[in-house]
Amino acid sequence: MAKHDLVGGSLWEQYSSKVTQRVINPSFMGDLTEEDAEKKGGKLIIADWGAEVCGDAVRLYWIVDPDTDIILDARFKTFGCGTAIASSDVMAEMCIGKTVDQVLEITNLDVERELRDEADKPAIPPQKMHCSVMAYDVLKKAASIYKGVDVSRLEEEDIVCQCARVSLKTIKDVIRLNDLKTVEDVIHYTKAGAFCKSCIRPGGHEPRKYYIENILREVRMEMEKEELSQHLEERDFSSMTLIQKHRAVEKVLDEVVRPILILDGGNVEVLDMKEHEGSTEVFLSYLGVCAGCPSGQTFTLKKIEDALQENLDSHIRVNIV
């Protein structure tokens, strides 16, 4: 009986023995006071962090040497599950002896690695990674207090998945590089969303700024647009639909023909286009001075037809209406 019979009992079986040990007997649990700081000749920093949705909270105490920025001592208090306690404990331990800038390099991923019994076996089950993020957040908060800057200044990039610390840029790049089409693919390739799942789509455990589902949709849309415009440029005129042909004709007219006609005070408009026995008939009408110009049916017509044939297809015939 015992643990196996309890709701979610199997969850605990997935904790490493280091996690269990730290939950039962955390080594760095407690607080530090101004007196302690004075004795050690450092500055006392107290940082609070609360994970709003969970109701979890952590308080981190540091004594920092103001001359060297080295953290002389660290303690914590946590209201949270086993993972939150164990990761706070490791994080406090990892702080001691490092400078404030050095500890900013520590993430929840380092904390989790430190808690492993075996190098390739996770210390906690996937859904609990979420609970280790708090240890990272409070550390950043403490650093920001010490440095006297806003905590957001310390976040150098947009993080989509906090559990696995995957940035927006990484996710976008991976989708493009591997031509990923489903949310499952993105999770599989990046590990983003594989833990507490909040960042997959709205309505999860906690609200997020970015969601993988939306990012994927946006990137796919961008990729499709790019593909489409590339296709338009590369695609053979004869295989285009009539609308695409019309656009291509307009584009050539805009780029090659019209600038010259406009210089003379004229212009041209496309009235219609028809497919006829393998060739494309373009029906044009002159505007402005071109309308009465004698070369309209000869020289100018030839120039327009040449421009379209050279740029698009030799089977284009131009008719002036």
């Binding site: 015992a2 019979d5 939950v23 209201f79």
Partner: protein
Amino acid sequence: MIGRIYLDNAATTGTDTEVLNEMLPYFMESFGNPSSIYSFSRDNRIALERSRGQVARAINAEPAEIYFTGGGTESDNWALKGAAFARRGSRGHIITTMIEHHAILHSAEFLAGMGYDVTYLPVDEEGRIDLKELEGAFREDTFLVSVMFANNEIGTIQPVSEIGRLCKKRNVLFHTDAVQAVGHIPIDVKAMHIDMLSLSAHKFHGPKGVGALFIRRGVKIENFIHGGGQEKGRRASTENVPGIVGLGKALEISIQRIGTESARQSMLRDRLIKGILETIPYARLNGPGEDGRLPNNVNFSFIGVEGETLILDLDEAGISASTGSACSSGSLDPSHVLLAIGLDHAHSHGSLRMTLGTCTSENDIDYVLDTLPAIISRRREMSPLWEDFLRNEKKVTI
């Protein structure tokens, strides 16, 4: 350390020796298929009907109204989906509560996805529904009300007779998930106007994986498991004869001792509640006081203490209990029951459920009362919430 103290009887119970002995012959001796016609199977058919009679007597139903299932969850699924599908295409409205077991909530969500309307009644701070609110929720097309008999987390007993009367008056089916109540408190489906009732054997010292659904004669619900003609063609699958025999026997024993056992457990429950309130400051009892609470249920929140670590500490001390804290379950969200009775996240994360059983002794309760206060105060010392809470308390008293 003394032997392990098991205080999670609402999760499951151990099978009674007497029950097991009753079951054993049906594994290797009388193993015949009750559907076969030769005489060898006759014992099994008799055993099935004997068990059906035992279950019927326990809730004052007719034997023909008892259908054996694979457990409480299946019974709940059958009741809801069966009643919905019997409407043959015309959708309609179901009333249930916010504190049901997931077997009901997820079945209701599934039906909502198919176009049925579902109303989830809120509960008061003790976990009870308001009968006026139920009356107001009825619609022209309401065809089913499903309200649990007693809650698995906080032990609240619902006003079942009154609900039954309201449903009868409106000619609406009334189903109750009585998984936590059967064998623990008296139930009379006739007097209480219950049309369907789910029960599960392993909650009263029977085996796991077997339960029953009471369906009042005349109630039209669609069959749920299709296959052979077992259970009068309503629930296919070769009968789990040893399990069903165990179910009947376990329920018979529970009913025989229901008076003495519920009095004994209520006494232990109240001793535990009183002891905790006296020795642990700022302990909050979740669910009703003595009246209207299951005899075996104790549920507390300790401000500043998180449930999962509390369970781990108790486990180290040899006590098995459970928590409504999200952190001990697969999900990250706290118990829907505790949120429904108005607890904030901090309180719902610090909840501790201890559910007593026939094996729970006075010594067990004393051991818990000796052990728990130190665990709570140690965890509170580690908690920033507790520090803040005390600071605020002091401010208020000054």
